[in-house]
């Protein structure tokens, strides 16, 4: 006959395990509560302006990941230099999760305006990916500001001229030395711009050290 201690401890573990049967299955799926999402939507922190993005791109910030959320066709037609293409409808696919698992990256979503990018942002936000920003005004604003910037009137304050000079500099950087934007020459930009989604060396979180034996 086993000792009393064995019987008591066996009874305790059996009781505890029996209790588990009646516990509800817990849903651990991470999701942002609607209230919090609404709060996030009410401030402008999720936006990055064309100027800010231009600075990041000119400085070649290694943490910047530009994501074109439009369809692949539009992406091939025109996209920002160095961007990768993750269409909104593919946003949840496993293949792309490597980009969203890395909190140190600055991800910027863009589309033609910022509507589509915002939809994509909302999907990722619900998955509690917090390092994504949206290009305010999208490619339209980009074209308007960088490629078609117009000199401010002479009476404008100094800041307006500073910004204009910055935009002209950015235009030179992105379009070429002439600094002139010729819509017909867009083809040249396109040829260099689209890239296949690069395989970035990612240490996928899941594949941690395998378990040992004993």
């Amino acid at each position: 006959m086993p000792s009393r201690n064995y019987i008591i401890s066996a009874a305790i573990i059996l009781l505890l395990a029996a209790g588990l049967i009646f516990l509800p299955e817990k849903n651990n799926k991470k999701e942002l509560a609607p209230e919090e999402l609404l709060q996030e939507l009410q401030n402008d922190k999720r936006f990055v302006s064309v100027d800010q993005l231009a600075v990041l791109m000119i400085e070649e910030d290694p943490t910047l990941v530009l994501v074109d959320v439009r369809d692949p066709g539009s992406f091939v037609e025109y996209s920002l230099p160095g961007a990768i293409n993750i269409p909104v409808e593919n946003m949840l696919e496993e293949d792309y999760q490597q980009y969203f698992d890395r909190a140190e990256l600055q991800i910027v979503f863009y589309s033609n305006s910022h509507i589509l990018a915002e939809q994509a942002w909302m999907i990722k936000k619900r998955q509690e990916v917090n390092n994504i920003r949206i290009l305010k005004g999208g490619l339209n604003q980009w074209t308007k500001d960088i490629l078609l910037a117009e000199a401010p009137p002479e009476t404008a304050p100094k800041e307006a001229f500073d910004r204009y000079n910055f935009l002209m500099g950015a235009r030179k950087y992105f379009v070429g030395a002439s600094g002139a934007f010729d819509p017909a020459a867009q083809g040249d930009i396109v040829e260099t711009a689209p890239k296949k989604v690069p395989k970035i060396p990612v240490k996928v979180k899941k594949e941690k050290e395998l378990e040992g034996c004993f």
Partner: protein, 196 residues
Amino acid sequence: MGPLIPQGVIDGGWSFVIALLVGVCFGLILEASGFSSSRKIVGLFYGYDFTVLRVFFTATITAMVGLLYFNYLGWIDLSMIYFPPTYVLAAIIGGLIMGLGFIMGGFCPGTGICAVAIGKLDALAYVFGLYLGIFFFSETFSWFEGLYTKYALGQVRITETLGISTGLFAFGFVAIALVAFVVTAWIQRRVKPVVY
């Protein structure tokens, strides 16, 4: 709250320090339970000593029941815990090879290293062979790769395969463990005791 490192409660840089501490404690308990003795280990195969089975079953069911309650209370997020993917064929073949090495050498990898720590020469030979095996396998992995990845199921859970709730499975597993304790105690009483 948990797991502490993935949730950012503890910085990831500490993981090796923590692993070292846990490893030292683990080794200490293995040694204290007498697992650095190969006679105790192989006793499981010959049926005169079931300590190994009892210790590991106890550890498993305690951790399992504890973790499931912690998960329920929100102290740990079990969905963030990594578990290795299932390779059916590799698991069967690897299990057979390991079992064979286990009974021939009288150690399993962890207890082998424990036994090296207390200065057993046979364990030293065993661990040398272990690393030789790892080296050989790593260098020739491309030969076995097809075999290795055959019937890869990915990260599957037995509860999903069986379609039962986690709690029910845990209860069943605890029941099996307790039955195993009773049965092995019964066998041990009937087998000629081995003194070592």
